[in-house]
Symmetry: C2
Subunit: 356 residues, 2 copies
């Protein structure tokens, strides 16, 4: 374990800076309790930066970011009606570029129903699962194109690319996660009855890796059926392993059923540490409430906990998670706090007994 954590901060747009400020505050305090110093460097990237400078993220920026142990990101995205930002140009140029350039092949998204969080489900039960989403393949690879574009004869194709190499490393990571959890259960989600080539390969690799993990119970669901279970019986899930696009869809649904994207954390992880991993709340930049201290920083703070854990600071990670949990349990419904007040409340709870 190092005694400094060299962090790149990309606060980004909208509510990004507000929630990131709280995540940094909490992370700094939690690491200090373990005698780890947080060294922070701020980067200006985002939609605002792009509109000002015309730059999203170039090779030099990537080289600078690479020098850090990890990246904490707030939120990216400007006014959705601004034509200069159409087509997700900044999201792709930042988030997807980082995932591909830094080989963030694990997109890790826990789904936990915390005490006092309000699920839209009538009987949510005990929701506590982990989605291990592939981050560098599938329909996200940008291998699409069109001909006769803009005419009545246009044909637009999108190609999902899946490699045994890419799927196996992801699946092995997912099995390891399942092995470290009490229920030891892994569900592959795909659409193998239609996407037969990709689906067969995913299923074959899951079957093969499963042999190395005989203690883990494995099952399979089509992605359409998985959405039904997510609203009717979400407690059935422990670890879900799935492709990039299905993971995108399922994790937004998972965030919704656990009380909203204000609480959902995520990590874009390069498990080997060849490149820095990047941690961000699942929520977007919410330009409509930016600068008003209305955003809940919990998702950003829980993302910082994932960040600490991924760098081996497991005590700090557990401390942050326990503090968020305690804060959520203590919140009365209807109490209004500023973003900073919530961050302060969580800092004050940090010396609560770590959960693990």
């Amino acid at each position: 374990m190092t005694h400094t954590l060299n962090l790149a901060v990309i606060a980004g747009d909208g509510i990004g800076p507000e929630v990131t400020a709280e995540a940094r505050k909490v992370l700094r305090a939690a690491l200090a309790l373990d005698q780890v110093e947080l060294v922070e460097h701020e980067y200006p990237f985002g939609a605002g930066h792009y509109l000002e400078t015309g730059r999203i993220l170039d090779d030099e920026d990537l080289e600078s970011l690479r020098q850090h142990d990890a990246i904490l990101l707030g939120a990216i995205g400007g006014d959705p009606s601004d034509p200069r930002l159409a087509g997700g140009i900044v999201e792709r140029g930042m988030l997807l570029k980082l995932r591909f350039a830094f080989d963030h092949y694990v997109n890790l998204r826990p789904a936990t129903l915390y005490p006092s969080a309000e699920s839209p489900l009538a009987k949510p039960g005990n929701i506590d699962f982990l989605v291990v989403r592939e981050g560098t393949e599938g329909p996200y690879v940008g291998n699409g194109g069109s001909i006769r574009t803009g005419t009545p004869h246009e044909i637009a194709n999108e190609t999902s690319v899946n490699t045994a190499f890419g799927v196996e490393r992801l699946v092995r990571f997912a099995f390891e996660q399942a092995g470290a959890r009490p229920r030891k259960r892994l569900t592959l989600v795909h659409k193998k009855n239609v996407l037969v080539h990709a689906g067969n390969m995913w299923q074959r690799i899951v079957n093969e890796v499963a042999k190395e993990f005989p203690e883990i119970t494995v099952d399979y669901l089509h992605v359409d059926a998985a959405t039904i279970f997510l609203v009717k019986d979400p407690s059935r899930f422990d670890v879900i392993v799935t492709d990039n696009l299905f993971g995108d869809i399922l994790t937004d649904l998972a965030a919704a059923i656990t009380g909203g994207i204000g609480l959902a954390a995520s990590g874009n992880i390069n498990p080997e540490g060849t490149f820095p991993s990047m941690f961000e709340p699942v929520h977007g930049s919410a330009p409509d409430i930016a600068g008003q201290q209305k955003a809940d920083p919990t998702a950003a703070i829980l993302s910082a906990a994932l960040l600490a854990g991924s760098l081996g600071h497991t005590a700090a990670a557990a401390r942050i998670e326990a503090a968020c949990r305690a804060d959520l349990a203590a919140r009365g419904s209807g109490i209004e706090r500023t973003t900073a007040e919530t961050g302060d409340a969580i800092v004050a709870l940090l010396d609560a007994e770590p959960a693990a």
Copy 2:
């Protein structure tokens, strides 16, 4: 309007025959009230037929089916653990083959929360929307493949094919549906920030067709965000138009939030009538409860209503829908009825005032 309706019935597997028997009973009675005779021809296709004969659906079968005005299908699919049925061979060979051969480019799936239906949502609100899913393009076209299959160097690709021709006819159908509904609202669901080529084309075509329908309010949601709205604010939706795969996922979720796939109807429609359209409940064959008279035939009966409506028998369609609605309203919770008893109850309600 013809005075006979020449129906092909594919009862299929599992609970298919039970629920189809009730749908036929109700359809026959409803049409008779309008002096239309139902002429029915049964076809044995399905997983059971495939295991017995090795045949799924060949050109001759398609030629026979083509002679009918419409097809009513129960459910397809055998024991999921049977290796002879692996990879969705019968589903693809039957359902997808029919959709492609008969150019069922509209996959129509209403989502209505009927009285007394039990939504898993705490506050479902007034759910009443229509999903217009594309049925003959997208990632369903079978344009995938793999190399080095079965090795650690395998690469498996799946290609989503989208044509302006195919998207435009579907989008126009969706606008027409929206125009006939009181709220006059249409939402395009795609993932245009990642699948930029296909997404841009879908958005362009929606924008173009929208000019012909100035009375309709149009918006756009990414598919991941759409799942959030479906559980947090489903009453916001009126007509959703979307691609084949997104529609597959969203309609299972839509069925779940409206009380389960026991009630969800669907039509695979060739609007021009060049080929017979096919109507089926969204649910599967449920082999575990097959032959026990436990299945709710309502989804199959509502599919028969869609069938009647699509052939211009709108009074019969409205009558069936009103009877299902009245039956659902009258059902006490916890009352157990056989599949046939539910069918009989709906027949008895058929002379209820038609809703339209």
